[in-house]
């Protein structure tokens, strides 16, 4: 029986008050097995990012239960959530979010430093990852000296440095041209070994690289399908509440 890495039960998240209240997640249920790539697809405002934040322990659901990598996130204190993020989740952001005054190598080492890895080991792993993402010659460069695609490669290496069980990528190709975007998605999926990678995107083409695709709209799962990775033959299955 496959391991369940993620389980959400009746998760709701609202922003704003009164008439301006927006329901970002509306009682969402989701279960994800360990390993592979899950794509969350939907237009802007569909709740993809909010869902990623809740899964990644960056935000709390207003209602419902969130179990991720063996932790009941809805019960964790802020400091425990920090520990959870530090050891069990890797993040890739749309805008790369690298520290501008650290080199590529130091940026990748950063989460390892927070996790208490020895400096030598952190450096070794960071160098290895940068080599795998094709940046062995640019380790000493700062983000400002790298192209957008290169910066996102650094961010991906950073996400994998602590060998997290879950890697979350929020619109990782949003700031990149189509060709570079495709290469980034390929890189992300190729790096994912035992990790589960969850990618939020509104680009349906990227979803093709995923093992499983979930469509979101108005904070709800509207459809689910097996990605191209599992074969084009499988049909999209509507999922409703």
């Amino acid at each position: 029986m496959p391991d369940i890495i993620l389980e959400l039960r009746g998760v709701a998240k609202r922003y704003g008050v009164g008439a301006a209240k927006v329901e970002a997640l509306a009682g969402l249920d989701l279960t994800q097995e360990s390993g592979g790539v899950l794509a969350l697809v939907g237009p802007s405002g569909s709740g993809k990012s909010t869902l990623l934040h809740v899964i990644g322990g960056m935000d709390r659901a207003d209602e419902g239960e969130v179990f991720a990598v063996g932790e009941a996130l809805h019960r964790l204190s802020p400091s425990k959530l920090t520990t959870f993020r530090r050891h069990k989740v890797g993040f890739v952001f749309q805008a790369f979010n690298l520290m501008p005054n650290l080199t590529a190598l130091e940026n990748v080492m950063l989460p390892a430093e927070f996790a208490g890895m020895s400096g030598k080991e952190a450096r070794r792993r960071a160098e290895e990852l940068l080599e795998r993402v094709g940046l062995s010659g640019r380790m000493r460069h700062r983000p400002g000296q790298l192209s957008g695609g290169e910066q996102q490669r650094v961010a991906i290496a950073r996400a994998f440095i602590n060998d997290p069980a879950l890697v979350i990528a929020d619109e990782p190709t949003g700031n990149l041209d189509t060709k570079t975007g495709a290469a980034i998605v390929e890189l992300l999926t190729s790096l994912a070994g035992k990790q589960t990678v969850i990618i939020a995107t509104h680009d349906e083409r990227i979803a093709g690289a995923a093992d499983r695709v979930i469509h979101l709209a108005d904070g709800q799962i509207t459809a689910e399908e097996a990605g191209r990775a599992k074969g084009d033959a499988e049909e999209r299955q509507p999922v409703g509440r």
Binding site: T82, R85, R86, N97, N101, M109, G116, S118
Partner: protein
Amino acid sequence: MLTRTFLLRYAWRNLWRVRGRTMLVLALTGPVFLSLLLMLANAAALEGQLDRLEAETATLIQLRGRATFGTINQAGGLNRMLPAELEQGLARLPHVVKVEPYLVAIEPIAGYYMTLHIGVRPGDARRLATHGEVGAVDIVAGRDLGPEDEGKDVALLGLAYAKKVSITLDNFRPGESVFVKDLLRDGEPGVVRIGTRTIGGRPFRVVGLFTSGYAYGDNQMFLPYKTFQKHYGAKGAVSKFFIRVDNVQNVAAVAATIRDRFPDLDIITRADGARFLSAALGTMRRIGRIWLGAAILLAGAMILFAMLLAADERIRELGTLKAVGASTRNLAVVLIGESVLLAGLGAAVGGVLYGVFGELFGRAFFKATFGVYLPGHYGVSLMDNMLVSYALSPGVVVVLVIATALTGGLGSLYALYKAYRLSPVEALRA
């Protein structure tokens, strides 16, 4: 430890990233730290001066003729002086360690000034005859009067007195002759002529210069005891006795005994000098503390403002750090590190300014701070005569380290508050 080093390196680079602002903060905080060091140097010198005076007077009793200042040439003059043979009686009193007879004459000199000529024995202390007799003097050039000088026309001059005869620390040559007569004035309009001057017209060799920390004190001239007796005709008379008691607890008892045995004397104990000292010290300490507090607050506020800008500008970065696993403590290391580094750089600038310009600014600073609250003549003469060190000593470094920690800690408060409340999601949306 490793993480801390890594984060401090990051903090350091953040300062370099906004180097224009960093330079501005250093340009503003450097002088504040400089003022802090100047204040401490001046306050320490002042306290040292006053402490020394206080210690000097704690076990001292002064005796003089009732209702006189003890000056030999004042109205009443010699008739109101104390008999020299009193010394033996006083020396035999229990707890009395030493008795020192002083001969004092007051003399008008050029301008509207008075000087005091004081006859002292070779081994006795060179005290001020003013300000409750609280002072001892420092020989700053040449030598003190010695036994070989008894009966000779030699003198030890205060710096203010010396200045009036154009002798300064720079041009002083031990043994230089000074015609004291040239300084004495005759019946200038508006000036009350005091007593008679038998000393005028004689050349005196100046063997040394002293400073006391007091305007009037430095207008004194010490003469050998016998020389004074010879010129003022004061044989067998004493202006005042200074009595040293073995212990401060016995001062009151000795004073009471003297009052019983010699009722026709004025007895002056430390309490008189202490009144002046406590008032002066209290003022100095208040000014010093206010200044130190204000300097720390001012430098801290400047750094706080710089850190406020930094935290707001880098909110996304801080959010990212939190997202990838930085704890609030990790962020605190970055922010406090940045703030303390900034404060430390400001302190270093202040330290360098102090080392280079301390001497130059120190006196002006004294006059602008302590001097404002002191009577005019103190404001000038205290600083002129005080020996202040503006060297970059280990003590100065310790002060800078403490000031750095305080201002850096203060400067990081807003950023820490921000980091504590920071939600990674909100920060990333910013």
